[in-house]
Amino acid sequence: MFLFTEKIGNSQLFNILFIMRTTIVISFLPVLTTTQALQDAWLASIITFFLSALCVYLIGRLALIFPDKSIIQYSQELLGSWPGRLFSLFYPGLFLFMGATDLRIYGELLRSVFLPETPLIVIQSSIVIAAVMVVYAGLEPLGRMADLIFPVFTLSILFTLLFPVVEADFGNLQPVLYNGWRPVLFATLTPVAIIAQYAHLTMLIPSVVEPQKALRSALSSLLWASLILVFAALIVVAVLGADEGARAAFPVFKLIRAIRISEFLERIEAFPTFAWGLGLFITLSVNLYSLSKGLSQLCRLKNHRHLLLPLAVILSTLALQGYSDFLEIRSFFKPQVAAPFVFFLLLFPLAVLWTAYFFKKKDSVF
């Protein structure tokens, strides 16, 4: 009688997307570290928001035309059975790739900050096993985990960013637009590419309680995450200086290490690391969920849980083998590399689907 509905509330969708976005964007602050925007990183963050919002709108709007279907299902409806399947392979591939990259970044972060002698596989397993467990338990527990993690995560991040304010030197933010608009616009490319995370909307919307409000939840989560990003970019540049911030691997952690509140509170980076672990757990679980759910729909399997374990193994292996060290991840996130790659995976199928939709609409099928 108590049916286990695989539903998540709209606020849970907001929490999930907010945590995912903030986790990745804060961790290595791509607006600052990937290009030479330097002290204008905060400006780049603002522009990032508008460009990302456009992408999210494109993704979400199409998904809302088929509120009870995932992208795997409606692409088959729009393009026909076999071309549809071919095009819907893009998104699981994207999820797999993003999950692996996020996982590797987390491993590198923990290895560099806390556990220099621990093998990467151990660090990664601690998150992957938990993620597999929660996806196995279902989407509902996943949404609830997001509910639990959201306040802890947000408070930790805010404290991390607010503590250093005492040491901020806002003179570091000048001169504004010293190199003109070009590097600023260039710096937005990578963070906008990371908006590929919102492709999860196409898998999550069928499970949302009120799908019509899902796009609004997604956009507001993007807005709040962007505010935090702007704030982080400001604080990092103000405290560390633009050059040092851009050179650091993980600027926010460098920031928190650099400050001493008092004799006693000197090494508080455990808190952001903890928050980051929780955030990555959510990110990875959603990736695993979308991946297994997508593949099971593609192959018309009844239960996506059977795919979970093999996919988790593939994902961890990819995370281990995909990059040789952190420098490689960093060079991958250069806008020249990351943006075309991700935009191809993300926007090309989207463009095809939109076109197909308009043609079909003309033929008044819908």
């Binding site: 108590f2 660090i123 601690s126 096993i129 467990m133 279902g138 609830r144 006693f264 000197e266 929780l278």
Partner: protein, 556 residues
């Protein structure tokens, strides 16, 4: 020698009995023939016996009935059969009851009416044919009574303290309410102490318990359903709820789960808990058991169901969420800021009780750089000369403490404090002086122990005690990463749990802002306008808003 003679005596006795038995039918000649009862012989096993007397009809003859009754109950010494003759026609009659279960006064009244008062009635009415009806209608009107024509029903009646009255010539029995046995007095529950709370706690009698609840909720919409569970023990079980407030699906689920219980005996509400719990393998309790009347009433008013089991002073409350296990009565009887403060303190203590040893071991083993240098130096200096790694030290002290705690519970009240003095002071102090453990570990373990004592629910405390060891191992093996993993797995387990459809971690996950008023903190009573969203959804408002008291003449 003595053994041999004993054996000889026994042999002789057996032989004698055999001779007697063979002679018995010849010696005692009556026209009465023992009715052959399949299934009630000496060599019939329990299930056959239970089945045999289930639907035995009573007979017209008193002798038959008594013989039957003796076959059913055997020679149980507490079962009394009082035979007498009633009325001017000297109709043979018998009173059946069990000693110790009946109220002697009520028994006296019954006897008096059938022996003496019967002469006050009309002669016609006490004729053998209608003496039964007369007694029922006219004589026993003071005492509540019912009739039955079934041996099983008769026996179950007297087994809860009723008295059966049988007349010759009537194939039915009169069951009179004469219950009256000793029950423990209503007293303050010792396991759930409170400072300003209600001092009444439940007792082992189900009637007393339901009456305690009924006295506090006088609405006719307090419904109490009852059923019997246990093929042999026939334990009475009742569940109380407020009709129209509780979701019917919860009640339906509860009824079906209770009906599915097939067991020989129920000795306490813990048995029921095992049978109807949603998460039997979980360390965390999914039913709230309490001895406090105010707690049960408060939960009923929120739209939950309370289950009472006869013979147990613990009521079970369903559905229960995680937050109900960290509520204590005093939160509600103290004004808002104080009650809220101790509530928050309890949540923090729960996390300390779970994680502190694990974090201590993890930090000292893997991340000593996280500690401020003076503190680290201090700890390291104190650890100088300790021959074990931190984890062994901590594990050792934790085990010592757990053993001490268990010993303190098992020992009689008078010896308890002595043990804690020996354990805590002597053992702890000696261990430090001998250099086996460092003072830091003792501080951590002691603080963890004290924190775990603040958890109001014993079951939840147990869960924390067991999981603490798990966190300790994870911390020792993988550092803070391991503790984080443990936390995640624990949370995943908690959020996937449900108690009768109610999400276990509500209102934290799923997050319900409106229910926060009574979870992490509890606000003023006049602020708690709505019932918990997932429980009292049928009648969400419990009071009109805006009842904040104001000083006279002062305007908002």
């Amino acid at each position: 020698m003595s053994i041999k003679s004993g054996l000889l005596q026994k042999l002789a006795r057996v032989l004698l009995r055999k001779i007697k038995n063979t002679r018995k039918p010849n010696a005692k000649k009556t026209d009465w023939k023992p009715k052959e009862l399949p299934g009630l012989g000496d060599f019939n096993d329990l299930s056959q016996r239970e089945k045999a007397f289930q639907d035995l009809p009573l007979s017209n003859r008193l002798e038959d009935n008594l013989q039957l009754f003796r076959q059913v109950t055997g020679e149980s010494y507490d079962v009394n059969i009082q035979e007498f003759q009633s009325g001017p026609e000297k109709v043979p009659a018998a009173l059946l009851y069990i000693d110790g279960l009946v109220d002697t006064n009520a028994l006296e009244i019954t006897l008096h009416s059938v022996k003496v008062d019967i002469f006050l009635t009309n002669m016609d009415e006490v004729h053998k044919k209608n003496i039964f009806e007369t007694t029922r209608r006219r004589l026993l009107s003071v005492i509540e009574s019912r009739t039955t024509g079934n041996m099983a029903e008769l026996y179950y009646g007297i087994s809860i303290g009723r008295t059966a009255l049988l007349f010759d010539g009537t194939a039915r029995a009169l069951i009179c309410e004469t219950q009256g046995w000793n029950v423990r007095e209503v007293s303050e529950p010792s396991a759930e102490a409170s400072i300003r709370g209600v001092r009444e706690g439940f007792v082992e009698s189900i009637r007393t318990n339901t009456s305690l609840v009924r006295r506090r909720i006088r609405s006719p919409n307090l419904w109490i359903e009852s059923m019997e569970i246990g093929s042999l023990s026939k334990t009475e079980l009742a569940f109380a709820y407020i009709k129209g407030l509780v979701g019917e699906e919860i009640l339906g689920e509860l009824r079906s789960r209770l009906k599915n219980i097939k067991v020989d005996g129920i000795l306490g509400s813990g048995y029921i808990e095992d049978y109807i719990s949603d998460n039997p393998c979980s360390l965390f309790p999914s039913l709230l058991s309490t001895e406090r009347v105010d707690r049960v009433v408060g939960n009923l008013l929120e739209g939950r169901v309370a289950i009472f089991v006869n013979g147990s002073s613990f009521a079970l409350i369903i559905p229960a969420g995680f937050d109900s296990f960290l509520q204590a009565p005093d939160d509600y009887f103290e004004p808002f800021p104080l009650g809220a403060f101790i509530r928050v303190l309890r949540y923090i203590s729960f996390f300390i009780a779970l994680f502190l040893p694990g974090i201590y071991v993890a930090v000292l083993t893997f991340h000593p750089e996280l500690l401020p240098v003076p503190l680290l130096l201090r700890i390291q200096a104190a650890r100088e000369g300790v021959p074990f790694p931190v984890v062994v030290e901590t594990l050792f002290m934790e085990i010592v403490f757990e053993v001490l705690r268990e010993a303190g519970v098992r020992l009689p009240m008078i010896v308890g404090p002595a043990i804690s003095i020996v354990g805590a002071l002597v053992l702890g102090d000696a261990a430090i002086r001998a250099g086996i453990v460092s003072p830091g570990v003792v501080i951590i373990v002691a603080f963890t122990a004290i924190a775990s004592f603040t958890i109001p629910s014993f079951t939840l405390g147990l869960a924390a005690r067991i999981l603490r060891f798990l966190m300790l191992f994870l911390g020792a093996a993988f550092g803070l990463l391991g503790v984080q993993f443990g936390l995640l797995v624990l949370l995943i387990h908690l959020v996937s749990m449900r108690s009768f459809g109610y999400p276990y971690m509500a209102p934290f996950a799923p997050f319900i802002w409106g229910d926060m008023k009574d979870s992490l903190v509890n606000l003023f009573w006049w602020k708690q306008v709505y019932r918990p969203k997932l429980l009292g959804y049928r009648e969400p408002r419990r009071q009109p808003p805006g009842q904040k008291p104001q000083q006279p003449g002062k305007k908002e």
